[in-house]
């Protein structure tokens, strides 16, 4: 299989997730799209990299994604109780 369609697949998934990230206003949703962007990058690494090394690298990226989701959701829950909103546009105060 040619490498270009594989790269194009991951680019398309990345661009769709980026579109969602840039257009939606809710923080939870933004984090979801962020995870999907990371997922698309993972596909590119696994598809195009040298085989055992790229899979080991993707495995480490899984752990980074899990850590990011944990901290991000803890932040979102803390912000939800501090600001009483989860819309990024409504959060304007620097000092909650």
């Amino acid at each position: 299989m040619n490498a270009y369609p594989l790269a194009a697949i991951s680019y398309a998934l990345f661009a769709l997730a980026a579109a969602g990230f840039l257009t939606c206003g809710s923080l939870v949703r933004m984090l979801m799209f962020l995870e999907l962007m990371l997922n698309a990058a993972n596909i590119a690494i696994v598809a195009l990299g040298p085989q055992p090394a790229s899979q080991a690298y993707a495995l480490m990226l899984f752990a980074v994604a899990a850590a990011e989701a944990g901290v991000g959701l803890a932040l979102i829950i803390a912000m939800a109780s501090a600001f009483k909103t989860l819309e990024a546009e409504n959060i304007k105060d620097l000092k909650g």
């Binding site: 299989m1 080991a56 959701l73």
Partner: protein, 166 residues
Amino acid sequence: MILTAAIYILSALAALATLLMLFERNPVKAAMLMLAALLSTAGIYLALSAQLLAALQVILYAGAIMTLFIVAVTVTPQAWRDRPAPGRMARVLGLAAAVVILAELLKVSASLKIFTIGAGFEETGTLAIARELFGRFIFQFELLGLVILASIVGAAALALKKRTAP
């Protein structure tokens, strides 16, 4: 041949799920669509002969991270009440930025057209991956343990702050 078809079909499914997520108002339905996209990605990994990654994708992404998202949506009633109403301008600008990103990426990687990936299903053993992780990538792997510890401490500190504050 069948693997190539599987990759195309599964990636179309993942793209469709992500596209539907863009227009879904209900946060739980959006989370379910994200689950569909993640499971399709697990299928893509399987077609790319990355069996361990496919299993981990189902367990870690579709299991653990998805549960976290559902819990976060459940405990924050604001996620339900807030109706996203981004300005028309912001929406158009975001979509345009995504299109530009896609076009640039496709243009930059045009040189990949001469390469071919070895077709055919082959078994990538966990031993080979473990050799990489504990051989060449040992420093990164140990550092990753520190990252996860820091994230656990950070998440716990963020969650406990409210209870201990006067």
